[in-house]
Amino acid sequence: MANTSYKARQARRVIIERTFGLAILALMSFWLVANLFKAPSQFAEVALIGLSNGILYALIALGYTLVYGIIELINFAHGDLFMLGGLFSAHFIALWFHQTKSSPMGWLVFFLALISVMIFCAGINVFIERFAYRRLRRAPKLAPLITAVGVSFMIQFVGLRWNGSGQKTWNSVLPAGHAMLGSVKLPFTTLISFAVTIPILAALTFIVTKTRQGKAMRATAQDQDASRLMGINVNRTIAFTFALGGSLAGVAGLLFQQTRGLTSYNLGYQLGLIAFTSAVLGGIGNLQGAVLGAILIGLIQGLNDGLPIGLGQQWSQTVVFSILILLMVFKPAGLLGKQVTEKV
C-alpha cells in the first residue's frame, strides 16, 4: 500500500546513497593505491603536507563549528579573521620586533606573537558578535547570514588597506630544513605546526568538556532559555565562544604566515571556505568532527595537488567544493553529525 511504498522509497534512497558513497570511496582508494605504487616516497611527503594543511584547516574549522554549535550561524567572516591573524603576526614579528631570521630571539618573539594574535583575534571576534550578530539573534535566519557576509567584506577591506592588494612575502623565524624519517622528509615547520596545534586542541577539549565555562557553552548550545534559568549568562557565554573561535583562527593565521611566509587580503575567503567545508564534512557543531573533516580535506587536497596522478593544483578548489556539494546532497549531517528535524 501507499504506506509501504513510502517506506520502500526511503529504503531505496538509503541504498542509492550507500552505493554512491561506496563508489566514491572505491574510486578514491583506487586513486590512492595507484599513486602509492607509482611513487611511494612522494606519496608520504605529499600526505605529510596534506596533514599539516589539515591541522591548519582544523584550527579554522573549529571556529566555524563552535559558533555554529552555539547560535546556528555560519560565521562567514571567520576565515577573514584568520587572514587578519596572519597579517597581525607578520607585522608583529617582522616589523614591530624586527625578527626575520631563525634565532632564539626570533623564537621568543614567535611565542609572544602566538599569545598576542590569540588575544587580538579573540577581541575582534567578540567585538563583531557584540555589535553585529547579537542584535540579530532573534531575527529571521537570512539576516545574520547576510550580516556575516557583510562583515567578511569589511574585514577584507581592513586587510586590503593593511596589506595592499597583492600578496606579500615574509621571512620566517622558524628553522628551515627538515628531519629525515627513512626516506621521507619531515620539515621542521611542519613539526612545529604540530607542536603548537596539538596542545591547543587539547586545551580546547579541556575547556569545553571540563570547565564551568565549557559546561555553560554546552548548555547554551542545547537550550538558551533553559540555560538562563540555570543562572548562566548566555550573552557572556556566546561571547566567550566567539573569543575561543577567534583565538584559534589567530593561531592558524600565525602558523600559516610563518610556515608559508605570505599574506594576502583574500586568503581568508579561500581558506575559510575550505575550512568550512571541513567543518561540514565532520558534521557541523561537532568538535571532533571538525578536526577529522579538516584532516581529511587537507589530505585530499594535498594528494590532489602533489601526486603524479591527480588533477593538479589549479583544480584544488573545484575538488574541495565538489566534495562540499556532494556532501550536502547525500549526507548533509556530515560524518559525525546528527540530522535534526524542525519542531512544529
Binding site: 500500500m1 501507499a2 504506506n3 512544529v344
Partner: protein, 259 residues
Amino acid sequence: MSSILSAENITVEFGGLVAVNDVSFDIPEKGIVSLIGPNGAGKTTFFNILTGLYKPTSGHVMYDGSEITALTPHKIASAGVARTFQNIRLFGSMTAEENVMVAMHSHLKASLSATILGLPSQRREEKAAREEARALLEFVGIGKTANEFARNLSYGDQRRLEVARALALRPKVLLLDEPTAGMNPQESAVFVEFVHRIRDEKGISILLIEHDMAVVMKVSERITVLDRGEKIAEGTPAEIKSNPRVIEAYLGKGVGAGH
C-alpha cells in the same frame, strides 16, 4: 454517516519514544468532532500525521476513499485537508487577501508564461480568485482588513484570517488546532457559533483540538480523548463528561482532596 477522514491504527515513535500508540478514529462527513487530552498527550502530533507532516511508524490515514498516508503535505492540503496552527502561522508581510490567495495555489491553473504575458484567461482567473478571497474574508468577518498586512492585524483577526486561509483550500475537512487559545468566554462563545456556521454553510467536516472544555462540550458531536499517546475514551460530550477514566486523566482527580 460515512467518514471523510479516518486514521487507522496510527503509531508514531520518535527515537524510541512512542508519541502516539495505535490510535484509530474517524471524522464523519459533515461532523464536528474534537480531540482532547492533557498537554503532551500527542494531539498535535496526531494533527501532523493527518496533514502529512509526520509519517506514522505504522498505520494508515484514509481520506475520501483513498489512502493519503504517504503523500506530501502540499498534496494532502490540495486534496482538501486544511488546518490552522496552534501558534498562528500567517505570512506576516503579505496582505490578508494575499494570505488567503496563497491557499488557492493548487486551484489556480495559470502557467508561468500565461502569468508573464498576462493572458486573458489568467486575468480572469486572478480576478475570480480575488473575489473568492474577499468573500471568504467577509465570511469570517474581517472583510475590511483585506489590504492590511497580516502581521498588523489584531490577535482575534489573525485567528479569523487563519480560518479564512484554510477555507480557501476548499477543504472537505478542517482541522483547528486550539482555535480559542487566548480568547475570553464571550469570544469563545461567538466562535462556537462560527464553527457551526462553517459546517452548515460550507458542508465541511471539522476536527478540533481544544482545551476550553466549555467550547468542546458545546461544539462537538463526538469527542475522542487521548492520554499519553493512547485513546482512552470516545463518545458524546455527555458520555465523556461522566467517564471516570477521562476525569482521572484529564480533569484531574484532585490529589489529596480532603486536606
